[in-house]
Subunit: 254 residues, 2 copies
DNA sequence: CCACAGTACCTGATACCGTCAGTCTCGTGA
DNA sequence: TCACGAGACTGACGGTATCAGGTACTGTGG
């Protein structure tokens, strides 16, 4: 069906610009509108029925049938990334407001964490839908959504940075880790929120911000002492691998 | 179907202990052996065919048919957690050797990261199989595997700790974040390993260790300056929420 | 300038296919 | 008699195909 020349490969299936025919152009606005509406419906359906909604249910929520959904989205992962993009866009706008007031990178990071946790708290289903990898490859297109968030995080750091590849890579790497940290704590919090001693969202935000920027300072002074005393020299080639990483897999040999 | 009294809910489907019948007890050893063999076969199959193997393929790899697999494991998630447990067990033994030599928590953490990354590197398929949530609930049984790893990480810290719930929670929380950080960087590394400027696994290990314990020191001195100056007071109630977390979901109202 | 045929695209329903998780049935061997 | 094991079966779901409409644009002839 996609007779178009370009390999689009993202969610959008071949919009085919080369015809200035009014009969085609007439639908352009309608198309974008409809697509947005479908994304919205998908979010609603996921929010209601959990991250494992069937396409049929999504279509039903949108008041139509599968055919339509598949006309606008390549497949389920395609829909997933579209929803993810929408969520990221919302986070981005929310972040713009926040980072206008934020001077230091610390405030920027804090705002980021806050927005992230707010999303997690407000609609865990959508969060999981967007977060969970659906692709069978699972290697290259790891976490479209999480990658985007990592970029959001890395931006304030890389902005100050010369485009030298060495440090850029460092920033990206750290951002990936930071998103992972937030994700980990966020999901832990989601399922331990009711326990006694569990922090509120704001406490969590502050704590995670501090931990990310300064390490596990504050929650354990004793171990922290040792840790920080050893953490001073961050030379990358510290000691050769002393851990006997024992063969962790025994299932290859063809 | 599960006529057994206890809510097992782990991988084991009701072994039905209430019959001390010799005709039944005769099979006990065979059962545990078989179960281990099936887990092994599952790992092999996943390693070969990717994290989306069908149960049929797993059974075929084990040289049998689905019925058998379902006799020993409740369902696919059950098998998944069994495989995860096996991997965690291997990590645990690998870690025991390492942590015998490790005095400081830092060395313990470093060893942990090393083992984790080694696993990721050696068999990404198995890693994804074990890592990805398969349950539709997706909330309570979040990441059996990742939780176990988090416990592994938290142990050296909590060992020194009084059992006071307040600090235990802190340690657990931090451990979840740390695992998330390692996961994030690990998966980033998995798909950017070939880029120029990408670190080797050992460099990555050292860097992540340092970052986790002391924050992003070393890769950007300028921003780090600001960060650390603000990071000193880790009081949990720092400033009230200044970020305008904008309504991130618009899809509820029944 | 206007009617008309033809066209390009959208809609939504329904039926269909392939795959896969999970179950059931029945034969076999100790 | 008991567990084992193979294979047929069911149901759900992702995804495709077909079909009968519907509506606005394009071109051409009167």
């Amino acid at each position: 069906m996609p007779a178009g020349p370009g390999p689009a490969a993202d969610g959008t299936p071949e919009v085919d610009l080369r015809t200035p025919d009014g009969r085609s152009a007439r639908w352009d606005e309608h198309r974008t509108q409809r697509r947005a509406a479908l994304v919205h419906a998908a979010r609603k359906a996921v929010h209601r029925h959990g991250p494992d909604v069937s396409m049929e249910e999504i279509a039903a929520t949108a008041g139509t049938s599968k055919s339509i959904v598949y006309r606008y989205f390549q497949d389920k992962p395609g829909l997933q990334v579209a929803v993810g993009a929408a969520v990221v866009a919302q986070m981005h706008t929310a972040l713009d407001e926040a980072s206008r007031a934020a001077e230091t990178p610390r405030e920027g990071l804090r705002a980021m964490i806050d927005v992230y946790l707010a999303m997690v708290e407000h609609s865990p289903h959508v969060y999981y839908f967007v977060t969970r990898p659906l692709s069978e490859d699972a290697e290259a297109p790891l976490g479209h959504f999480l990658d985007a968030v990592a970029n959001l995080i890395a931006r304030p750091f890389t902005a100050v940075l010369t485009a030298g590849s060495r440090e850029r890579v460092q920033a990206d790497l750290w951002a990936s880790g930071a998103v992972g940290f937030i994700r980990g704590t966020g999901e832990w919090w989601l399922s331990h929120r009711e326990d006694d001693g569990a922090p509120t969202r704001l406490e969590l935000t502050d704590r995670v911000t501090t931990w990310l920027l300064a390490g596990p300072v504050g929650f354990l002074t004793r171990t922290r002492q040792e840790a920080s005393s050893h953490a001073e020299p961050p030379s990358t080639t510290e000691t050769p691998c002393t851990t006997p990483t024992a063969h962790l897999n025994d299932e290859e040999q063809s």
